[in-house]
């Protein structure tokens, strides 16, 4: 008979419903022989069920989430706006440089 610790991962997979056929057979055979593991399996399923249903944030924190999220978005958009405006500034600088060079050339050649 396999030891309880040897099949812990198989039992966990079985509780999640993702065990393969061989693992299911081994676990079911073990459960018939080991009352402790059978009880542990039931409790594991119950605990997982509660974990799926529990609220991760306490009520006070959940109510502040929307404001924190808006602040984060505003901060990120501020950085993004600066990055968006960057091409405009570069283009403006290039255009100004071109105009100055053109004027300088015209003055140099006395046009």
């Amino acid at each position: 008979m396999l030891k309880c610790a040897d099949i812990a991962v198989m039992v966990s997979d079985y509780a999640d419903g993702v065990a393969d056929a061989r693992a299911r057979r081994i676990v079911e055979q073990h459960m018939q022989l080991c009352a402790v593991c059978a009880k542990q399996l039931d409790r594991s399923v119950m605990v997982t069920h509660q974990l799926r249903r529990m609220s991760l944030l306490p009520p006070g924190v959940a109510s502040r989430t929307a404001r924190a999220r808006r602040q984060l978005e505003a901060r990120a958009r501020g950085e993004h706006r600066r990055l968006e405006e960057y091409p405009f500034y570069v283009s403006a600088l290039l255009a100004a440089t071109l105009v100055i060079l053109t004027l300088a050339t015209m003055l140099y050649f006395g046009l």
Binding site: A8, V9, V11, S12, D13, A15, V18, Q40, R43, S44, M46, V47, T48, Q50, L51, R52, R53, M54, L56, L57, P58, G60, V61, R64, T65, A68, R69, L72, E73, R75, A76, R77, E79, H80, L83
Partner: protein, 161 residues
């Protein structure tokens, strides 16, 4: 897994081509926040135990451009931030409900686990990430993830009786 995103109104800051997932993954920051902010905050709160720490950590996650590529990168960044806070000793136990019911005993038992164990269990069973996705998040193989989950859940079960 993340659904293919709609056409973004604004590109992401430092948006990168999807390299981890085959599905196109660039979403607007707003869409990303809409879908994931509450969930990431919840995972961070359960791992770090404090609302203020969780908010700061969430900010670090979402302002990391590399984390916004796809869902796997996002959860990877979340775990990275948790590990950083753990390394600096900035972790407390989350407050568990005081009611005398199963939910309270489970949340109390969860609070007594290690931060990374808490995060793993929440990601697997609350966020429903399959073990193969978790393996990619953790950068290890599926068998190792299942072993860690089995161990963490056994401790959770023992602590909730």
């Amino acid at each position: 897994m993340a659904r293919p995103p709609k056409a973004p109104a604004l590109p992401l800051i430092g948006a990168l081509p999807a390299s981890v997932d085959s599905a196109p993954a660039i979403m607007t920051l707003r869409a990303r926040l809409d879908r994931y902010y509450g969930r990431v905050l919840g995972v961070l709160y359960q791992a770090l135990g404090d609302a203020e720490l969780a908010s700061q950590a969430a900010e670090a996650v979402f302002l990391d451009a590399a984390a916004l590529v796809n869902e796997i990168a996002l959860w990877r960044a979340t775990l990275r931030v948790i590990k950083r806070y753990v390394a600096h000793g900035l972790v407390v136990r989350p407050i568990a409900a005081l009611a005398n019911d199963r939910q309270a005993s489970v949340s109390g038992a969860l609070a007594r686990l290690e931060p990374i164990e808490r995060a793993l269990l929440v990601l697997r069973y609350h966020e429903d990430l399959p073990t193969d996705v978790l393996a990619r998040v953790l950068d290890c193989d599926d068998a190792a993830v299942r072993a860690r989950l089995a161990s963490a859940r056994a401790r959770l079960v023992d602590g909730s009786c």
